[in-house]
Symmetry: C2
Subunit: 384 residues, 2 copies
């Protein structure tokens, strides 16, 4: 099939959907790959590297080459705010694959996909089942985010992370508090612990205690608990339980040098775990890294995309598109996830126009098909 890789246009987006390594594998499997000129530059891959991998590098208006493609692969929605419709240059029946955000992206994008009779798969809807692990972009990108958050915290803190025993006496290690022990939280624990900090982690799910402790952190066991959803997320807490959680976090936050927050609830604003009062109780020089910035943030004073320094000297970082800060490796992981997903789609009959719609991975990632919105939550958003 003919697979097109457009250059990403999203703000702060530095990733590319397919890296040369993956292109070579697709070409070897008899696919043709069209890569828009400069698509890989921001993540460190030159046009020449794509040519060497067997891609055709294309330039000029998308209408000249996107209509040739059977499949367009991207990181974000292509041209979500373009004057013309998103994906306007794909021919009817073609397939769009990317992190399309069925729970958050403007529904007009999906109506356009539907009305133009495209098939769309959203990589962020990959089910969290064993056989789909190798396609799980949310896990990949959370790994990147957790690592970056740890480094941002260490770099902004005007103190040492590790214990130091010097001729001038001892420096005590930094205290790091991680809120939320999903993939990002666990990676942040691993990285801050590696750097020598004393790490505590909090999660509402008691089931993660063992993982937290195996990484060298202590688990903050609070009486508030929630169950895991089928996809491994924490369920939202009832209002009184949430208040108890906030009360119980006050002391650990006040004592922390670095707080990294990672609490996300799919399709909903992020819960506020670090209140304004808590920030005021922190020491000058302390740092908060809020990984929930895309969903509004876990800290009441976070300003997504900006750095805030409070009157009492606390630095609050709320990075947007943090994965793009590690674009070469984030692209590598994403590209491998997409390759595994494409391979699965081909095995399920995509190339033969006989796609097995009953396969769990196909069924849960497909959001638009044959003139219909097929994703339940997206359907509800459009009808709401």
């Amino acid at each position: 099939m003919i697979i097109a890789v457009p250059r990403e246009r999203g703000a702060r987006e530095r990733r590319v959907a397919l890296i040369p390594e993956t292109v070579a594998k697709l070409v070897k499997a008899d696919h043709a790959v069209l890569v828009e000129e400069g698509a890989g530059i921001a993540s460190g891959f030159s046009d020449q590297q794509y040519r060497d991998a067997g891609a055709t590098v294309v330039a000029g208006s998308k209408s000249d080459w996107m209509r040739d493609a059977d499949i367009a692969v991207s990181v974000q929605v292509i041209d979500p705010s373009a004057q013309d419709l998103p994906y306007a240059h794909l021919r009817a029946g073609a397939v769009a694959i990317g992190m399309l955000g069925p729970l958050s992206t403007d529904v007009e994008v999906f109506k356009a996909l539907r009305d133009r009779n495209l098939t769309a798969f959203s990589m962020d809807a990959i089910p969290r089942i064993s056989r789909a692990q190798s396609m799980d972009v949310l896990s990949s990108m959370s790994t990147v985010a957790g690592y970056r958050a740890a480094l941002i915290g260490a770099e902004r803190l005007p103190r040492f992370f590790p214990l130091l025993m010097t001729a001038a006496g001892t420096i005590t290690p930094a205290k790091v508090l991680i809120l939320g022990a999903g993939v990002a939280g666990l990676q942040a624990i691993a990285t801050t612990h590696r750097l020598g900090a004393v790490v505590q982690a909090f999660d509402t799910r008691p089931v993660v205690r063992e993982q937290v402790e195996s990484l060298g952190a202590s688990f903050l066991a609070l009486e508030v608990q929630s169950q895991q959803t089928q996809d491994g997320y924490a369920q939202a807490l009832a209002e009184d339980a949430h208040q108890a959680e906030v009360n119980l976090l006050s002391k650990p936050v006040a004592e922390a040098d670095v707080v990294i927050t990672t609490a996300l609830i799919p399709g909903r604003p992020a819960p506020i775990l670090v209140t304004e009062e808590m920030v005021k109780s922190m020491r000058p020089g302390a740092v908060i890294v809020d990984l929930a910035a895309e969903a509004g943030g876990n800290c009441a004073l976070s300003r997504p995309g900006e750095t805030v320094v409070t009157d009492n000297g606390v630095t609050i970082e709320a990075p947007l598109n943090i994965a793009s800060q590690l674009a070469p490796h984030a692209s590598q992981l994403y590209s491998r996830n997409v390759y595994n997903f494409l391979t699965h789609l081909f095995a399920m009959g995509l190339a033969d126009k006989a796609l097995n719609l009953d396969d769990e991975i196909v069924a849960r990632t497909m959001i638009v098909h044959d003139g219909t919105i097929t994703h339940e939550a997206l359907k509800n958003r459009i009808n709401a």
Copy 2:
């Protein structure tokens, strides 16, 4: 005695010479400590913390309180560029202690100290002998610098440091090259190795191989070698030997993700170890952290105090006063070093006006005394 701690005025200077912990120890030993209002703010210590430790917080013109002091303790030279003379407010016979830079500071500063009959001790001249280790500010500040350089390298690199084994395949670890394995280099090795990078280190002194290897790095053994000076520095290399060194470093530099350079030769411009050609051979996204910026830099393209991004996408950081980026801990270490030095001076008779000038620590740190320049190299600079 009465010990005064002025607020530092140097550009980028965030440290303070004495922190409240040390003030409390001096007060307990029956000294009086005068701290200029706001002296500790930039390193996270409030005036109230100084008062609680027993200091008198003073404000207004220095002439109102500096003349009461027997000793003035600072990080840098007080008011080196003031309209009036540096240390003009100290009375004749008083003592000035700080990192005064006898090999680099404008000689007019020292002439003024001499002409006003002050006694000056330079903390950066502490001999590198066992009994003076607890006073060794150059070691303390190099520890800070090496740690910071490692973090800056990791934070600027758009790639992971550690090996990652994920469901989407393996991410290979970053390659870090450390040039110079003194205190800063060894700390940079320890920190980058902790973060999971594969670390190589180069030094002209074969004697440091064991230390390098014990920290988990491999030692780049080149045929060029130099001996250690009495103070543990590498001796300057002859011109042809230096060229051989540059030739031999070309390949390791080209293959590195992060290069951290720490080569300093006291009183001389830093040697160029990373040439323009080497920088051009590096990969896009690679990072150089040049710790020799204060002495001009070890990289030909470094601009001290600035960040350079080259046409081929290499980021070069050449931070000035890097210790101030970790001001709370850098001040803590400096303050403990000064305390140990003061205690030694008192034991050597400073308070009784009967200072033992034969003591090696006294003799080597004293640079001005009794209307005379007593430091040999400084004397040579003034007579040159």
